[in-house]
Symmetry: C2
Subunit: 300 residues, 2 copies
Amino acid sequence: MTITDIRVEDSYPTRIPDDARSIPRQDPTVWGREDDGPMDAATLAAHDERGFSTVEGLLSPAEVQHYWQELVRLSSDEELKADERVITEKKHGEVRSIFEVHTISELIGVLTTDPRILDRARQILGSDVYIHQSRVNYMPGFTGSGFYWHSDFETWHAEDGMPRPRAVSCSIALSDNYPFNGGLMVMPGSQRTFVQCVGETPDNHYRASLKEQRFGVPSEDDVSSLAAECGIDQFTGSAGSALFFDSNVMHGSGNNITPYPRSNIFLVFNSVENTLEEPFAAGRPRPGFIGSREFAPLSR
Amino acid sequence: MTITDIRVEDSYPTRIPDDARSIPRQDPTVWGREDDGPMDAATLAAHDERGFSTVEGLLSPAEVQHYWQELVRLSSDEELKADERVITEKKHGEVRSIFEVHTISELIGVLTTDPRILDRARQILGSDVYIHQSRVNYMPGFTGSGFYWHSDFETWHAEDGMPRPRAVSCSIALSDNYPFNGGLMVMPGSQRTFVQCVGETPDNHYRASLKEQRFGVPSEDDVSSLAAECGIDQFTGSAGSALFFDSNVMHGSGNNITPYPRSNIFLVFNSVENTLEEPFAAGRPRPGFIGSREFAPLSR
C-alpha cells in the first residue's frame, strides 16, 4: 500500500470485486452515558450488546390513531404519487414508502424533535443529531413483499458517504406486529461485524434498490455465519411501540400473506460528528431525500 | 333448478364464474370416538373445534436424523430429478417437493402404517383409511417461497373428485419451525366454512399449480372475513413434532429468508368411505401421484 491508496483511510471498505470478508467494527455502538438522556445504564448496556432496544407504547393509542390517519391521508394523495420521493410496490403499484416524510408531513416532522425519540437518539449517539433519512413504510396485507438481509450502514457508507456507523434508526409501529405479518428480523450483536459486500455500485442504483436490493447484499455464507453466531430475534409488539436499532445491525423481513397490513414510521438520526462525505463506493451521492446533506442539529 | 342440474348433488360447489360465497360445512370434522384410538376426548374435542392438533416429539431425535438423511438422499438423487413426481423451485431449480414419496422411499412408506400416525388418522376419520397423497417438502433457507392461503379440500374436491372433507393431513417437521422461517399458518375453526373459489379450472392446471397457485385461490375479502372470525395460529415447534390438520382448514405460509431450511413429510389420509369420484370442477382427474385412485385400506 502507498500513501495514495484511498482504502488506507476507509475503515469499512465494501462493494469490492470478490473475497468479501467480515471486518470487526471499529467504533462504539453506544456513544453516550446514563446522564445524557432517558435510557438507564442497563438499557444502554443492552443496546450496546444487542444493537437495538425497544420501547413499548412510545406512542399512546390516541397518537397511533392520529398517525395512522395521517398515513392513510398521505398514501391516498394522488398528487403525491407522482413525487419521486414516493415509492410504489413493484407488482401492484400501491404506495410502499414515502421518503423525506418529516418535511412532507408536519405531523411527522414534529416527531423528529419529540423528547421521547430525540433524547434517546442523542443519548445513544452521544452528540447532537440530525435526520439522515425519514420515511413511512406501508406493507400491505396479502401481497407485502419483504426485504432481504442487509446492514443499512453498508449502503449509507458506500452510496451516501457516511463515514462511520454512528447513526441510529427509530422504527415506530403503527400497526400490530405479529410474528407472521412480515415483522422485522434482527441478528442481535451483528452490529459489531461489518460484512463486506461484493459488486461495484452501478450509477443511479438507488432507483431500483428502493424496490429490490441487488447490490449491498451480503453473501449467504456470511448471513449463515452471522446467524449462527448471533441468532435471530423478531420485533413483535403492539402499535405504538418503537425499535431503536444501530445502523450496522443485520436485519431483514419476510413477506406478508396475512390480511394484516404493517405500517411504520422510520426516522434515521445521524451524529453531527459523522456528517456525509463523498460516497465510499459509488460514483456520486444519492439524492438528498434518501441521504440528507443538511446537517443542522435538531433541537426541541 | 331441475333434476338434471348436477350442482344439486354437490354440497361443495366451487370454481364458479363469480359471486363466491362461504358455505357452512355439511360434515363432521372428527368422525371417530375416544375408544377408537390414541387421542383422548379432550384432544378430539380440541381437534374438532380448531381443525388441527399437534403432537410434540412424534418422532424421536434419532428418527428425525434418520429421516433427514433420507430427504437429503432423495433430493440429491439426480436420476429422480427427471421424474414427474419431483417438483423443482421455480426460480432456482432446487427440489421443492417429491410426490408419492411413500412408494419411492421404503423408509417413508413405513411411516404410513406407523401406529402413532395411522391410528390417529383412523380415529379422526372414524374408518379405515388410505393414502390420498404423500410428499416431502423442502423449503430452502434464503430463497424459500411460501404458499398463499388455501383449503386443500377445495382443490381435492374440484380437481380430484373427493366427495367430502373426510380426509386429514399429517405434517411431520424434520427441521425446527421458528415463527420466522416460513412455518405453516392456520386459521383455527376455518374448517367449518367452505370458501368457494372463482374461476374455471384449466386443463392440466396441476402442473403449474404445484409451483404457484392461480386457481382454487380464495378472494382477499373471504380470507379477511375468515381471519377476523378465526384468527391466525402458526405451527412452530421442534423437529419431530407433527401436525394433524383437517382437509378444509384455511392455511398458508410465508417465504423464508432465514438461513434455516424447513423440511417436512406430508401424508394425506382419506377415509375409505370417501373415495374419489369424477372431479367436481375440472375436465379430468389429476394424475394418481397427486390424487391416488388406489383405495386399499392401510393396515399395520
